[in-house]
């Protein structure tokens, strides 16, 4: 591939994905592209297939048809750990963290994931500054600087959501797939995360699934609307908002 071609290729791209669960076509010919430095927001009613689409992008689910490309390389056959190692990080709609660990230990394990292997049997991980300092920096970014020593089980729901994001950031990804990161956060926490994404956006190609329209319009460069597994509109947020199909879909679903 020539350099000119490489530059023209979007960072992360899904081409015509299909995924069926029994009788339900959960993903129906979905194509979308993410570019570094840009936020692509994906919205749609409950059950539209947003999480299912993200699962295919992250490698957790294999699409029935279609392909996924990172910097021009076909990664469709790679599973979730392999894609994570290529720099595709995700957060979970339903918080998935290490409950019996402390907050810092959670993030330190995310930091540790960047190493090539983990067969180090003797050094004390809690005293490893390469892990703890980086973890503390990530915690500070998401507004959890004071909670490092707390057990996760003792955190409020919104704080767990912040931790979820800190863990994704701590892997230093290229692509950030966020599944309703602000869901369940208070207004202040939500603001911390929104302004964090605003500040860091230049570093990542971001897919943002989000129900909060204020956040979507504040952050998104591109807005796509998913209904029944199919994109009904995609483009600059202002245009998509005024699209009659989108308005109809949203009125129908009483959004």
């Amino acid at each position: 591939m020539t350099e000119a071609q490489a530059a023209a290729v979007p960072t992360f791209e899904a081409r015509a994905l299909y995924k069926r669960f029994g009788g339900l076509q959960a993903t129906d010919g979905l194509s979308l592209a993410l570019e570094r430095g840009r936020v692509h927001a994906l919205i749609g009613p409950n059950g539209a297939g947003k999480t299912t689409a993200l699962a295919q992008l992250s490698g957790e689910l294999r699409p029935d048809e279609g392909s996924i490309h990172l910097d021009g390389r076909d990664v469709t056959a790679l599973d979730m750990p392999a894609r994570a190692r290529l720099g595709i990080a995700r957060s979970f709609q339903i918080t998935a963290v290490f409950e019996s660990f402390t907050v810092r230990e959670n993030v330190a394990l995310a930091v540790q994931s960047r190493a090539r292997h983990h067969f180090h049997f003797f050094g004390n991980a809690a005293r490893d500054r390469r892990l703890t300092d980086t973890a503390d920096a990530a915690l500070e970014q998401v507004g959890l600087a004071d909670a490092g020593g707390h057990r996760v089980a003792a955190l409020a729901h919104g704080q767990k959501r912040q931790l979820e994001i800190a863990m994704a950031l701590a892997t230093e990804p290229q692509v950030l797939l966020l599944d309703e990161p602000m869901a369940g956060m208070g207004a202040a926490e939500s603001e911390v995360v929104a302004s964090l994404l605003e500040r860091l956006r230049a570093r990542y190609a971001v897919l943002l699934i989000e129900h909060d329209m204020d956040v979507v319009f504040r952050l998104a460069d591109t807005l796509s609307v998913l209904v029944g597994g199919r994109l009904i509109a995609s483009g600059p947020p202002g245009e998509v908002r005024d699209d009659p199909d989108v308005q109809a879909a949203y009125l129908q679903e009483s959004f």
């Binding site: 963290v97 019996s100 660990f101 402390t102 003797f122 991980a125």
Partner: protein
């Protein structure tokens, strides 16, 4: 993964000091059999501690650890038999009575078998994992029952205990201190291991496998490594028990022996490493007390254990360190 509170540390110091002072005390009160009893607790505590590595830190509930125990014991027994009978074992080698050869070999045999069982069983989880590890252990049990060359159902007597670098291990007190030393050394080693990067990965896989995969970790190689280390250390405990009883038999490999290791871990405290030492001592004291009270002691022991495990969810050690609710 937080360090234990002072009370629990103190209790552990007292427990270990008690074990260390037991031989002189037993001599003073004229009951040397106490040392033999305590030696049993030390060896079973070692096996259970090895089990705790995977059960507590990896949530891999192995119901087949008796196989590793038995393989370690039989390795010592078989090597010793060949020395005594002068029959070559393999390649014209007549076996060995030397602990420095037999014990590492016992660990290697158990480790190799653990690698084999692990590669297959770690593809499953939950109840399937319990059943598969049990099934493999039963296979080994029946294998040894049907080996007349090595005593079959009746087992093998050790004509002599091993020597360590030429020194005989016949002295009751000396052997006891050797076992206690091994136990403490393994405890120190495993404590470092669970706090290392490797230990973090193992525990991360226990807590949330899906998140681990999303972070780029594949659990299998780490779980397998822990499983093999656990198997090797249980094999070492087997080598010790062969010397302790001067006898090995398929009874070491029964499913009830596997169950006993699990009970010791749960009674002492899951995911604590030191808990199994408490558990082994407590189980022994319970057994000996009940035996002296009633001949139906096993009928009483069962319910007592169930109640203990139910009411101290973190086991004895958990109760001491105030984390009784942790599972």
């Amino acid at each position: 993964m937080t360090s234990a509170p002072l009370r629990a540390r103190l209790a552990t110091v007292v427990l270990l000091a008690g074990l260390a002072l037991l031989p002189p005390v037993a001599a003073m009160i004229g009951d040397p059999y106490l040392v033999t009893l305590a030696n049993r607790a030390v060896i079973y505590g070692l096996a259970a501690m090895a089990l705790d590595l995977i059960m507590g830190y990896g949530r891999l509930v192995s119901f087949g650890h008796a196989a590793f125990f038995g393989l370690g014991a039989y390795t010592v027994g078989i090597l010793s038999t060949h020395v005594m009978q002068g029959i070559p074992l393999a390649f014209g080698w007549n076996g060995s009575n030397e602990a420095l050869i037999a014990w590492p070999l016992a660990m290697a045999v158990s480790a190799a078998y653990a690698a084999f069982v692990g590669v297959i069983s770690l593809r499953t989880s939950g109840v399937y994992f319990i059943m598969i590890t049990l099934a493999f252990a039963q296979m080994v049990y029946y294998l040894f029952v049907s080996l007349p060359a090595y005593g079959g159902q009746d087992g093998l007597s050790l004509w002599l205990r091993n020597t360590a670098a030429g020194v005989a291990l016949d002295d009751r007190t000396g052997f006891y201190y050797l076992c206690l030393g091994v136990l403490v050394a393994v405890w120190a080693l495993l404590t470092r291991m669970v706090n290392s990067r490797f230990g973090r990965v193992l525990q991360g896989c226990r807590e949330n496998e899906r998140r681990m995969r999303a972070l780029g970790f594949r659990p299998m190689p780490y779980r397998l490594t822990a499983f093999v280390i656990s198997g090797a250390l249980t094999g070492l405990a087997g080598a010790l028990v062969a010397n302790h009883q001067e006898f090995v038999s398929p009874a070491l490999m029964t499913w009830s022996q596997s169950g006993q290791f699990m009970v010791i871990v749960l009674l002492g405290g899951l995911a604590s490493l030191v808990g199994p030492i408490y558990g082994a001592v407590a189980l022994l004291v319970l057994e000996e007390t009940l035996v002296s009270v009633t001949q139906h002691w096993q009928l009483v022991l069962g319910p007592v254990l169930v109640l203990a495990v139910l009411f101290f969810r973190g086991g004895l050690y958990g109760a001491l360190s105030g984390r009784g609710g942790r599972q």
